[in-house]
């Protein structure tokens, strides 16, 4: 019975002298090995080098500020109600006189917390946001955490820094992803 057409007839014939010495086989094998030294390396040296994951990768959350540096989030709670993992919680507060350059609307999020253990990075919060405030940035991942108390991200780690603004680029020429400032707990 023939199952595939790749079957080979087994022969029991005597090997030649060259075959007995194995040298040609060893050399041809080595040639294959050595030729790999001169090829382009497919390995990416993660975490020093990172692959560009595309403009729609969903990574680290960010609470955007507007052009004047005011926080966009108005604590409407739509991200939290859209979140299937119930990872987001917030406490709203009313903007006082003199805080107009800090918050865009008359209500703002005094506390905004995302539990990164719960988050599944589905991006529904970004989709639900009516104020274009919360984004999942495509260029940065949530760093590995080793302690339980590191997993709840407050506003200190979520709000956009004015000197490190996030722009979602659709530029396909950007091939690599800038590395994070530090691989451990960021900026705390």
């Amino acid at each position: 019975m023939q199952l595939t057409n790749r079957s080979k007839q087994v022969s029991n014939k005597e090997m030649t002298l060259a075959e007995k010495m194995y040298l040609p086989a060893v050399i041809s094998g080595l040639a294959i090995t050595i030729s790999h030294f001169f090829r382009k390396k497919p390995t990416i040296q993660y975490p020093e080098v990172k692959r560009y994951l595309g403009p729609i990768y969903r990574g680290h959350h960010i609470l955007k500020r507007d052009e004047q540096g005011r926080e966009r989030c108005t604590a409407c709670g739509l991200c939290a109600v859209a979140c299937p993992a119930e990872a987001i919680s917030m406490v709203a507060a009313e903007r006082k006189k003199g805080e107009e350059n800090l918050y865009r609307e008359e209500k703002y999020a005094a506390v905004y917390e995302i539990n990164m253990l719960r988050c599944i990075f589905c991006g529904l919060c970004e989709e639900a946001c009516p104020k274009q405030a919360v984004y999942l940035r495509h260029d940065r991942m949530v760093p590995v955490f080793l302690e339980r108390d590191e997993v709840i991200y407050g506003k200190d780690r979520l709000v956009e820094q004015m000197d490190d603004r996030y722009i979602r680029s659709n530029n396909s020429e950007v091939k690599t992803t800038p590395t994070e400032p530090s691989l451990t707990r960021a900026a705390t």
């Binding site: 108005t74 409407c76 709670g77 739509l78 939290a80 109600v81 009313e94 609307e105 209500k107 104020k131």
Partner: protein, 361 residues
């Protein structure tokens, strides 16, 4: 002596026949059938006499006036004010003309509405939001400046956002009928009309807080609840207390262990069942003040039921019933004695899966 029963009249609304007493309005007859055919109402409020007829949200088409005179009414009529007649045929959702008119009404109501739902405390239980969700457009065609007002404090507990007001007059009727002295009203005419207390005279009356509950939008809001939380993060619980001034039957809105808001109980049409006094509403915000009756029934489609896992709001039986309907016993004749696999007897499956024929509990 026999009771003289009034002759019931037959009305057909969206093809569903219902018998009602003469004198009821089309809206009431439709509500008797159920929420599927009930027209939306922004200004009509059953407990308040004289309300209705202002917002035109409840327009319906009367295809046949009565059994005696089956001519259709020439224009769409406001169902909250039109009384039924025997043999009347009403078209509500089934008529594209009515839907078209309602879409226009939404646009008109939203002309001067600031659309600040993410900030507004009413979001999630707002009549206008529901109405616009059902009938509204995604974008606006309005290009002019919307009229704006400063927010006003009416008394220590109530805040008035005149920008959000749709001039339904419900609060005016409430003040007239529930309290004995009204100090606010509608000032100005036409486009310039606004709710106001004149010289910002504070409302202080035991029942003034009810204007918050009757307001269909977020124009009159509770200052003690201002920006405390979104409606859908709070848990409504029915409770009551012995109150010398009112019935004391309220809904408490919990955030964790704290009562952050007290409102009157509302029925399925978002109408207050029994008006409550200001002491209950604003001062009694401790669990120890109240006798808890149990969680308020929230409809599954409401955003308030989001992230709440009560056994009677979520019905997980659907999946089980589907599985039971799709379940096929597998003919497995393998000799499993050697494999250390325990075959479950078929009765086990019958226990887990309820019959597909069973109605939902």
């Amino acid at each position: 002596m026999e009771d003289v029963k009034p002759q019931l009249v037959k009305v057909t609304i969206d093809g569903i026949e219902v018998e009602v007493e003469p004198g009821t309005t089309i809206l009431q007859a439709a509500r008797k059938i159920g929420p599927a055919v009930a027209p939306p109402a922004m200004c009509y409020y059953q407990p308040l006499k004289g309300s209705g007829g202002k917002c035109r949200a409840c327009l319906v088409r009367v295809a046949a006036g009565s059994a005696k005179d089956p001519r259709p009414m020439p224009k769409l009529v406001a169902s909250c004010l039109t009384a039924v007649q025997d043999g009347m045929v009403v078209e509500n959702e089934t008529n594209p003309q009515v839907i078209d008119a309602r879409n226009g009404i939404v646009e008109f109501l939203l002309l001067n509405h600031p659309l600040d739902c993410p900030v507004c405390d009413q979001a999630g239980e707002c009549d206008l939001q529901n109405f616009a969700f059902d009938h509204g457009k995604v974008t606006t065609r309005y290009e002019e400046d919307r009229r704006t007002f400063e927010k006003q404090d009416i008394g220590p507990y109530i805040q008035l956002h005149m920008t959000r007001c749709i001039l339904c007059y419900r609060c005016v009727f409430t003040a007239d009928q529930i309290t004995n002295k009204r100090v606010h009203g509608v000032l100005g005419r036409g486009d310039a009309s606004e709710i106001g207390t004149y010289i910002e005279k504070a409302i202080d009356n035991d029942f003034s807080g009810n204007v918050i509950d009757v307001c269909p939008v977020g124009a009159l809001t509770d200052k003690t609840y201002r920006f405390k939380n979104r409606v859908w993060f709070t848990k409504p619980v029915d409770a009551h207390r012995d109150c010398p001034t009112c019935s004391g039957k309220v809904t408490l809105w919990y955030r964790g262990e704290d009562v952050i808001r007290v409102t009157a109980r509302k029925n399925e049409w978002n109408e207050v069942e029994e008006f409550i006094c200001n002491t209950c509403r604003f001062d009694k915000k401790k669990t120890s003040d109240w006798t808890i009756e149990g969680p308020t029934k929230v409809s599954r489609s409401s955003v308030i039921s989001a992230n709440k896992y009560r056994a009677d709001t979520i019905k997980p039986s659907f999946g089980q019933r589907l599985a039971a309907a799709e379940y096929k016993p597998i003919h497995d004749e393998r000799d499993t004695s050697q494999l250390d696999i325990q075959q479950l007897p078929p009765e086990r499956f019958a226990k887990v899966l309820p019959s597909a024929m069973e109605p939902e509990p």
